[in-house]
Subunit: 219 residues, 2 copies
DNA sequence: AGAATAGTGTCTGTCAGACAGTATCGC
DNA sequence: GCGATACTGTCTGACAGACACTATTCT
């Protein structure tokens, strides 16, 4: 006798939220409050609600608003994970997204409907996550790394204005390897992606010029 | 009053099948036999069947077996299309894949459960396709072009053994621009992706050496 | 021989990595 | 002045595009 589950798969969205803390790349994990997989750490995710979501991407943004009270405009699809056994509730499709949280908004997150939040280091595998979220996190990391490797600037991880050194540290944190300062700055000068502002950061040494994204920039 | 459709989205897979005909890139279209959008041209696609599919990718391969009687081992996910209005049946998720059909197997296709088949030129937009398949086809084309632009060889479009000139013509058809012969061949010599065979093509002029994919090659 | 296609060699511009050098701050 | 960080200039090697050149076949 066929149940509804055998005719209609469960559709969920999961989101890997990345940020930068102390020049290190971090990924957001939430501790699940409800079954299945209650109490286990997982990527924030939720079941698609066709009655209130206008698209899968909108569902991903709703999940972030609901679980950590943050609205991130830039949410990108990575790929899907599917099959009869990845979720104990039955045949499921998980659509994975990633989002970048600006470094200066890390402490704006508020947990809601989850037991706890934490930031983990995604650059080496994390075991024990719920469902196939360990695999999903690796896929999301790879997607972000490919994007930066392909010369895209991860400006959404930075405040509105930032120094070139901060941007370089951010790229290095994502890629997991050092970049040459001269080559990095030369590339940015030649591209039209950044606009130099008149502001400078006055710290303990020589002031650094602040830059911002050009109007034409899109991640 | 909520219907089932408002709680469970329809999940479908669509596949853009590419091949090479007379040194031109072609995409497979099928004429739909059933409502909705009966009689209109579309990408081959079908509803996910959780009771017989082990994954979305397996569903995509099943669709190709069912509709055009071909089993293609290399089916890659592109992205998803979703929303309440893209399919008249209600809120739907379409997962788009692309597949490459070897040039020498173009005539192995047999229509089944569709009115007709045809090969279209995907390099300029095709209007009038069912659902959002015009948009999907553009996305799939872009995915294949990006892959080849990123130095991946589209060997699945060629017979098992092929000449370097044939490979170059194939890449040119996908990218829509000419490639330099010297640079193209130099790159292949330096990479370890191809193996030279002892066979030659004897045609109307100087024989050309045949190559095959190296064992380590993966698309 | 001539046409046609296969295949090679060479020049050059571009660009990234390496790294040394200069500039400007706080102390 | 000195340390620290910001920023620039230059050398070099890798590589892609351009293109001319040679090689081998058929007619």
């Amino acid at each position: 006798m066929a149940t509804k589950r055998e005719l209609f798969p469960l559709v969920v969205v999961d989101v890997a939220v990345f940020t930068i803390e102390q020049d290190q790349l971090r990924a957001l994990l939430v501790q699940r409050a409800l079954e299945p997989e209650a109490k286990r750490w997982a990527l924030p995710g939720g079941v698609l609600k066709p009655d209130i979501d206008d698209s899968l991407q909108a569902a991903a943004r709703r999940v972030l608003r609901t679980k950590v009270s943050v609205d991130l405009p830039h949410v990108e699809e990575v790929c899907t994970f599917s099959g009869p056994t990845r979720d104990p509730r039955g045949w499921s499709v998980a659509v994975l997204f990633y989002a970048l949280l600006p470094r200066d908004k890390v402490h704006a997150l508020v947990r809601s409907k989850v037991e706890a939040l934490k930031w983990a280091d995604p650059t080496h595998p994390i075991s024990g996550l719920a469902f196939d979220h360990g695999l999903q996190l690796r896929s999301a990391l790879h997607a972000v790394q490919s994007k930066v490797e392909a010369q895209t600037l991860p400006l959404h991880l930075l405040p509105e204005k930032f120094t070139l050194t901060e941007l370089q540290r951010t790229c290095e944190a994502i890629l997991g390897r050092p970049l040459d300062k001269g080559a990095f700055r030369r590339r940015l000068k030649n591209s039209q992606e950044l606009i130099a502002t008149d502001d400078f950061v006055r710290g303990a040494q020589r002031p650094a010029q602040l830059y911002k994204a050009s109007d034409t920039f899109t991640f």
